[in-house]
Subunit: 215 residues, 4 copies
DNA sequence: AATGAATGAGGATTCATTCAT
DNA sequence: GATGAATGAATCCTCATTCAT
């Protein structure tokens, strides 16, 4: 009869959190593998080792589950970006590091690419709530703007570079290679995922971006 | 008013061809809008104004219909590429033209991007038949190799550039921007599809690619 | 401009007959393999190497095609029975011969068994036309009656044997063994279709029937 | 009015079992009436008064539902056989009783015949799992062997009779008459299902089997 | 006589979701 | 918090059959 919450409640809450996280991870994998349309709630439950009903309990429906997965994916990449501390580096090193980071992140998180694909196939309607989109807004663009400006001032970078354009170019070069690797490999009869090939791609990307920036 | 029998057979054959083409176009649009998983055979039939059964009559099943759509999309872009006659231009002009072409083609054929997305989601299994993949192989890479070599010889381009890498970079820069424009617009709160924004993107791409190539 | 029918017509008629026979044989095999419900008109056309439309041209619909197949099957077995000339044999030999014939016919025409099954699954509605059924009526029962009577008179057979009952027993013993051979083989773990096993079955059947008839 | 929680779990489990049993019975009737190919899952659901989806929930697909029905049918007849206690009877009585039992069981369970027909049409592929087939193996054959041996020893039966052959003959005589009664009735223009005709058939069967066995 | 094209009415199966406890 | 049972509305696909020539 104590007025304090029983420890059981705490434990339950922790269980609840854990269950949600488990579902989210399972859903992320399922959506990444099959897209939004191809994903199966049944399979997500199976992957999570939890009852299907629980998914609805926590996430209401498949759409909102996808939204939650998407937001988590954004939060994850934003967190990784935060850890880069690009402003501590010299401009050229900072850009090089950003290229490397983007490449490695996509390489290590292939699900991110597919999720992005699915989100765009559905016209980003899962980010329609601009409130939410704003929260996911990367401070990276501002950081990159600052880096470009510093580089320009010290004469190591050309001027007039739009940081958003540059960011999209970096991302695009990494993304297309990885996302289309099956198609490209099939069409060109060349395995694009060997360690050597991956290394060459990163080199090429750095060369292009820095070759362009340097005056 | 001739007394000859009308070329009945021909006409019938043409009807069959027309039906197939109609289905293919309808399917292309449906797949582009909803992805492979989200596409509905019923809707394809409706779009085509033809009986659903006919789709199965000609294309066996949804998977193979998708494959046919994909192959058609590849044939279309290859045909457009052929018409560029890049080797008639000076190296820098040729590259600039290729960048413009890629950009405009993607812009004018948004369905191509979505189809590519879907194909990649399914790990290019629709191109698994290597025979087929080979046929889709773009001669563009060889053309680009020749252009790069010419440029290098006349001193206008840097050496050591892998044409496949360059092609993937050009495609990736255009693709990512257009394919992910919904997400990007939402997250960065900026409409990326205004005529001006599109113009700026093309400029940026040309600058990056040529800025990199020029020594 | 001659008034005689051109030979072409004759040829065509012969083609027509041949086509019908081809369809009938293909249908027989298809019905035998898959039953009436499982048979596919498409497959019948394929088996026959003829256009599906032709099946409808000659046989109106699947039901009536089945009926035609069934009637043909009956005509075939009746023809074979006619060739036995049982009345030329001594009673015991005649019965022995009938047992052998039944056994061998079922063994060599397994489709007959399945067709019979299908017909009965559908309550013989394909024989509903009693006119037709009568035509298929086997004179064998009368022949058997005569044999039994002769045997009784010469003291080699017991009396009071109903020829229809006997005929059904002979048929049933052969039929069940062959028709159920897969089930029986699976359940008893014994291959019932080896030459030796088949020989033993025939022996057994003869022993049972004659053991019963002999006083 | 007890304060104990009601055995909720048990009841739910029982509901599940009941649903499965209901589906099984409905499926048995549908398969018996129309065969595997002609049976309609929709109709089975209707007959069961349950949602069609539930059939797939419990039985995966039509094929496996058929298999379950078949296994149940075998279990049922085996259970009935067990209750015969043939070894408590004198050899001749035991055989007579087996003949009667077989006849009556088929007569009262016409669905068993049709199911067997369907199973055979599909070449017992539903019993392919030999593990399962073995479980359905009737101990009747061994019992019959014992009976035949006893009869032989006391001089009332001839020797050298294979119990499996005898069993198949008994079953076949009953089965063919009942299973093909529609065809037979149509062809011979004689109603084989009147009480008198049924009585005569049983008599005939007993006469044949015992006439054969008695020395 | 023969055939390729086309169709409407199903048919098995799937799926997201809700019920009941 | 967690779960097994149940469902209605699709969804892909099939089938017998007809059209048009």
């Amino acid at each position: 009869m104590s007025t304090e919450p029983t420890p059981v409640t705490d434990e339950r809450l922790r269980d609840a959190d854990r269950s949600q996280a488990t579902i989210l991870a399972a859903a992320r994998d399922e959506f990444a593998e099959h897209g939004l349309g191809g994903a199966r709630v049944d399979r997500i439950a199976e992957r999570a080792g939890l009852n299907k009903r629980l998914i609805y309990y926590y996430f209401a429906d498949k759409e909102r589950l996808f939204q939650a997965v998407l937001e988590q994916a954004y939060r994850d990449i934003r967190a990784a970006e935060q850890a880069l501390h690009l402003l501590d580096l010299k401009p050229a090193d900072a850009v090089r590091r950003l290229v490397e980071f983007t490449w490695n992140y996509y390489l290590e998180h292939p699900e991110f690419l597919t999720l992005l694909n699915s989100a765009n196939l559905h016209r980003a309607r899962h980010l329609a709530d601009s409130q939410r989109a704003r929260e996911l807004n990367s401070p990276l663009i501002e950081t990159l703007a600052e880096i470009l400006e510093r580089g320009r001032r010290e004469g190591s970078f050309r001027g007039g570079v739009d940081p958003l354009q540059l960011y999209v170019s970096i991302a695009g070069m990494a993304y297309f290679y990885l996302s289309n690797n099956h198609t490209l490999s099939a069409v060109f009869g060349r395995d694009l995922m060997t360690p050597k090939a991956l290394q060459q791609r990163l080199s090429h990307m750095s060369d292009v971006i820095l070759g362009y920036l340097l005056p």
